[in-house]
Every structure is written in structure tokens, then in C-alpha cells.
Symmetry: C2
Subunit: 231 residues, 2 copies
Amino acid sequence: MPSPSVFHEVLCAVFQVREHLPGEPPVLSVLLWQRAFDPQAGSWSLPGGSLQADEDLKSSALRQLAEKVDLRQVAHLEQLSVFSEPDRIPGPRVIASSYLGMVPSDSQPNLPQDTRWHPVSMLPEISFDHRKIVERARSRLAAKLSYTNIAFALAPAEFSMSALSDIYCAALGYPVDSTNLLRILSRRGVITATGTVGRTGPSGGRPPALYRFADKQLRITDEFATLRPPL
Amino acid sequence: MPSPSVFHEVLCAVFQVREHLPGEPPVLSVLLWQRAFDPQAGSWSLPGGSLQADEDLKSSALRQLAEKVDLRQVAHLEQLSVFSEPDRIPGPRVIASSYLGMVPSDSQPNLPQDTRWHPVSMLPEISFDHRKIVERARSRLAAKLSYTNIAFALAPAEFSMSALSDIYCAALGYPVDSTNLLRILSRRGVITATGTVGRTGPSGGRPPALYRFADKQLRITDEFATLRPPL
DNA sequence: ACAAAAGTGTTCGTGCTACACCCATGG
DNA sequence: CCATGGGTGTAGCACGAACACTTTTGT
């Protein structure tokens, strides 16, 4: 192995569906911190940092999130792609492995001063190539919502179907009918009824049945939309 | 950036659908080379090697395939995941980025002595964690066959539908009806008729119409099997 | 004429969307 | 008893699987 070794960093696009304006439906938001110093002081960056000698990438991602932004409730974390252009950031070469992370909508982590949730529909100025990572994370999340149970990582432990369809709507960017969503997800065995009911809302209405996700691990629920095996 | 830099290698799982036994339908095969020296002398490895200072990962992968196994007709190459366990191979730490590559079934690259195509159904002893990479590449390929036009990278420039369904069959591991395949792919605009016909086979029969792929770039052709946007 | 392979048409099932209608609760 | 939201039922459609039937060639 005669060739040069390089630095390696992990960058995490962590999403939460959260209320941005009170009374409005919740929106998909991503966790960013603001750079205090150059390069690109003032712009917003993804949390992350450099890989240590004794950890693999995923452990590193979890460590950085816990240490730097005090985030410990990551319900799901998966690899996106690697960004390896030699000049992707100024200074010595750093290869970035990007991750998609998600925290449930009911968790309220304590964040440092420089760190904030930003609705993905109104992102501030983003550092380096981090915007591309956010975009990729977003589209990966949208795609996986349709054929996996990945929403378990965005939803609280128990939820009404209208709350869940709000989450899908926020993540996908278009309305999702809660009545059909129930049928799809229960037929696939993704969610199960708890048997309990929630409280009725502030403006009246029937109290909703509550559901939970059957698994808290990622599962493919709709493999092979087409070209499936015979029999 | 106080932390250690590490070596970084690229590993390519390159597939071709090729005739293994004459007269039999073609099978999905992967390109491997046999290690002459320890560690793990005799076992078979994926082509690849270490990243240079001035190249990104994809360029590196293409370079290594051209230099080391004289392979220049790679029709598609995409990133799989990164393997970063500190002790994944003996010796100093090396992080591996894995790639999925594909070669059209009609190209016949010249291979070095130690390099050979192996049907994925009868793999030899594989080095280190390379088997895991082959498996992942295989399942990624199978998945993408159903919702993208990725078969363009496995098929020759022009082909009959029965030849194409042989390719799908080899890559998926189960039979694919050529008549339905035609309908699916032409409806999606993935393939178009050339207007010409091929030669009839050695055992007689009607000469087949020839088709070609409309794009030679990867395209998603069946986004959102479910939960699609309204209207 | 017959075998072999390609191409066409038809039936059927499945799964999702859309929407109308019914139910439960608070004021 | 009415407004508000939750839940159920149903019709329709789009797409693909399976398979029978027809067409075109070589021998």
C-alpha cells in the first residue's frame, strides 16, 4: 500500500418532523450548526467530525452526535454515499461519509447554542457540499417511506393515524390520506393497534385510536413492486 | 483535524451475464482475481486498490479496473457502501469503499492470467469481507432491475426480447416472461424497437425483432410504487 | 407440413386512490 | 343538536402475471 492516507470525516443529516409554527402542521427539519470561524464563517454545517482510530463509521457518527450536539435519541442511522472529490473542502484532503439519521417527533433534545433545527423548505446558507448531502438524505428518506417501515424512526411510540399522516406529509411534501395509510400499513404488518384511544383535540371530535410500529428495526415491506418471482 | 488518517481502498464487484456452459442459458458472473501471496494466498478477491491523491473514488475504481484487469467497457458503476471496521483486514487499517459495476454481455475483455469470471451461484473461497460485498452488489442489482433501466448496462446495444429476458433471469435468479417484459419496459419508455430483425436461431423459428435501450444513463422508471403524490 | 421460436390478445388478481358515508365526542 | 375530527365501506383503476393463440421462419 504505497499510496497516501487521507483524513476521513462523518457527516450526519439528522431529520425530525417538528412543529415550526404553532397551530400549523409539523414540517421536516434538519439539524445544523453555525460555523463561528472561517472557512465559511456564518454558514450552516451538518454535525459530524473526524473518524477515530478505534471506531467504525457508524459508531463515529453516533459518538459525534452525542458529544457535539448532545443528541442521544437517534432512532435510525444509515449510510448514504461518500464524497471524495480531492478539493471538496479547502485545506488538506478530507473524504466525507454521509449518514441519514432520524429522531422521533416527540423527543426534545437539548441543543448547544450554535445548533438549530431548520425546516428543509427554508434552508439557510449551507457550508461546502453539505447541501448536496441534505438533498440526498431527503430523497432517500422519501423513497424509503414508500417501501419500508422507516417511519418508525420519525414517529413517537404511540400515535393516532392523523398524526402519522402528518409525519408522512411533512417528509414527502404532499398530503397523505390517513384512512388509506392505515390500510396500507396494517396490511403490511407495519403498525398494530394498541387498543387504547387518545385524547380528543382542542376543537372537539372523536378520540382517535392509537397505534404503534410492530418493529423498531428497518424492514423492507414492499420488495419487488414489479418483476416478482413466480409462485 | 487532530485525528489519524487512514488508508482507503476501492473494491469493485463487476458483473457480466455470460455463457458458462455452451447451450445453456447465460449466468450472472463476477470478476475475481486469485491472490498469489499471503495473506489468504489462493483465495479470490475483488479487483480494486488504493486511492491516489488526485482522484475521487469513482475515477479510482475505473482506473484500477483498466490498469489491473484491463477492463475498459464498464457500462455502469455506482457506489455501494463503505466497510470501515478497524480490523476488517490484517495489517494497518484500510477503509474500503465498494462499487457495483456492470459490463455488457457481448463484450469480451482480455483478462490477466490470475483473473477470471465466476458464476455467482458457485463462488470459490473469497478473501476477507469481499463475499459480503458481492452479496450486497447482487441484491442491489436485483432491486434496481425492477424500478430502473439498469439493465442497459448488462445488455448488448441491440437485442431480442428473449435474449433480454435471459439476462433478467440470470440476474434475478428466476424466470422472466419475455412477453410481459416487453410490455413493461416499452410502457415505461425504457426500450424502443429498432425496426430491424435479428437472425433466426440454429433450431429454426421466427426471427426476432430487435430493441435497444432508450437511455444509457441510469434512470428511475418506477418511482413511488405506493404513496404517490396526488393527481 | 411440422417444429421452433416470436409476437398478440385476453383474463384475472391485486393493491392503491378517491370519496362518500357513518360514528363518537365536546360545546 | 351541530360542528369537528375519526373510522368504515365501496367503486374504480392501473398494472402486471399467466397463458392460450396466432404468426413467421427453417428444414
